[in-house]
Amino acid sequence: MNAPVQTLSTADQDGWSLAGRTFRSRLIIGTGKYKDYALNAAAAEASGAEIVTVAMRRVNLSDPNQPMLVDFIDPKRFTYLPNTAGCFTGEEAVRTLRLAREAGGWELVKLEVLSNTAHLYPDMEETLRALKLLVAEGFQVMVYCTDDVVYARKLEEAGAAAIMPAAAPIGSGLGIQNQVNIRLIVEQAHIPVLVDAGVGTASDAVVAMELGCDAVLTNTAIAGAKDPIRMARAMKHAVLAGRDAYLAGRMSKKLYADPSSPLAGLI
């Protein structure tokens, strides 16, 4: 699938819309697994991301003065996207996001309802039910899902703000396992599609963007790199390159060689 051809000046201003907001960066980064929040903040800066995912957890009462994320990554500069990581039922997800809304007023949220701690794939039946509960409460819900084309349509019909299929198990870094499904999900969707989970390095993000995804969400690929700040920068360039390649429209593949220098006029 090739995108409609745009002039370069249009492509340069190529932002994307999510739940009525416009973003320039097509990279969303997670804030888990970093050595510390300072490194996390530096990686966020280097990535150019405008949205960061966050988790809701109990305050550590034995050490109330421990560093807090909001003191390193400013919620006024970055859009916080609270997740429901660790939730296995719709009710747990709703409870978590109600707390998030009270904590920071965040209504744009990431829903993930897990099925199993070995592979961390979502329970799609429960995810769809949770989505409906959250939409009824006024949340704008980005949904972590399997790369199931039929469920992706059901999520959109139920009012999802974005569809976020896993390219591979969370934290695995295995890259996009089923390019056909991601492409089919992109083709049928009328809302943003993001690859969430499974990105391991910059080329994986490029592939996601070349398939027509609106953006990429990654955590471990950056946090788990030997040099997270440099990998954050690589991811920034990867989504730009992949997006441009998608908009440019790739050449058709050929079975045999086709010389780039003319054969005519050979000496």
Binding site: V54, R57, R58, A85
Partner: protein
């Protein structure tokens, strides 16, 4: 008064949610509170009275993917 705060039993001498959060050394602006599974709106922190046996959850945002 005996409460359960974040899953742990705790004996406190405070009357409101706001006083409890302050006593624990936390910044009111950076947390959300649930009392017996119901959200306590920040605007009511000063007015919601605690009762013996209340189960309180105090949460905040942390790093996550």
């Amino acid at each position: 008064m005996r409460l359960t705060v974040n899953g742990e039993p705790r004996e406190v001498e405070v009357e409101t949610v706001a006083a409890l959060v302050r006593t624990l050394g936390l910044d009111l602006r950076k947390v959300a509170v649930e009392r017996n599974l119901e959200i306590v709106p920040k605007s009511l922190f000063d007015r919601i009275a605690l009762a013996e046996g209340d189960r309180i959850e105090i949460v905040h945002v942390i790093g996550g993917g």
